[in-house]
């Protein structure tokens, strides 16, 4: 999130905006927004309803549930607004003003993310710059 925060001024300069969406409770999202001093909205997607419509939701594998609780202090039902073990795959979408997705990055490997500079490259194409 910090990496995206760093390019926010450039995103805005290109006439675009940014939102982050997570299934966490609003309290958890707020603490993240404060922790990273985020300049974009962090929205609460209770029950992953929006993430599901983007085709991103899976349920955390059984063997990992206890592992996450014990090793990461992340008992998901406490974090998730719907008390489930469901998670969204990390995904970033650039949506053009006409409502169509111009660029999509989705990967089931949670350690992979879209590079911030790719976001800017794509936005520049839209802006025709």
């Amino acid at each position: 999130m910090q990496a995206y925060q760093d390019i926010l001024p450039q995103i805005k300069a290109l006439g675009a905006s940014m939102v982050a969406i997570s299934p966490q409770t609003p309290e958890r999202s707020l603490s993240m927004a404060e922790k990273h001093d985020l300049g974009f909205e962090v929205l609460c997607d209770a029950g992953n309803q929006v993430a599901r419509r983007y085709g991103l939701v899976f349920s955390l594998a059984e063997p990992l549930r206890e592992l996450y609780s014990k090793k990461f202090g992340a008992h998901l039902p406490d974090y998730n607004a719907d008390k489930s073990y469901d998670l969204p795959m990390p995904g970033t979408f650039i949506v053009a003003p006409d409502g169509f997705i111009q660029y999509a990055f989705v990967d089931p490997d949670y350690t992979l993310r879209l590079e911030p500079k790719e976001i800017l490259n794509s936005l520049r194409k839209t802006a025709g710059a």
């Binding site: 999130m1 910090q2 995206y4 995103i11 290109l14 006439g15 675009a16 905006s17 940014m18 939102v19 982050a20 969406i21 997570s22 299934p23 966490q24 609003p26 309290e27 958890r28 999202s29 927004a33 909205e41 929205l43 609460c44 997607d45 929006v50 993430a51 419509r53 983007y54 085709g55 991103l56 899976f58 594998a61 063997p63 592992l67 090793k71 990461f72 992340a74 974090y79 998730n80 998670l87 969204p88 795959m89 990390p90 995904g91 979408f93 650039i94 949506v95 053009a96 409502g99 169509f100 997705i101 999509a104 989705v106 089931p108 490997d109 949670y110 350690t111 993310r113 879209l114 590079e115």
Partner: protein, 96 residues
């Protein structure tokens, strides 16, 4: 998810995000027993094999509209943001 010495914050972002994440992952893995690492790798591989990514929205698809609350309870909608220009929508799992 806080691990001593593996913070994703701060100056590490001079490097690419992917490199920072890779280093973060290696830092996390170094603190976990091998059987836990195996469990995590297995789960990720299983998710890849499940083909779940193929069902996700792609470039050229219509973006499903949404209206969601921010932490202050104000409703934010994609369509309203799109009236101002392009929108970067990013999904993440959590703070931990």
């Amino acid at each position: 998810m806080d691990f001593t010495g593996t913070s994703l914050n701060g100056k590490k972002f001079g490097m690419s995000l992917q490199k920072a994440l890779q280093e973060f992952k290696e830092g996390v893995v170094a603190q976990l027993p091998p059987e836990d690492v195996a469990k995590m790798d297995e789960a990720t591989e299983e998710l890849v094999r499940s083909g779940i990514a193929a069902g996700a929205k792609k470039a050229g698809d219509q973006a499903p509209d949404f209206t969601l609350p921010n932490p202050s309870g104000e409703m934010v909608s994609l369509s309203r943001l799109l009236a101002q220009g392009p929108v970067v929508v990013t999904f993440y799992r959590g703070t931990w």
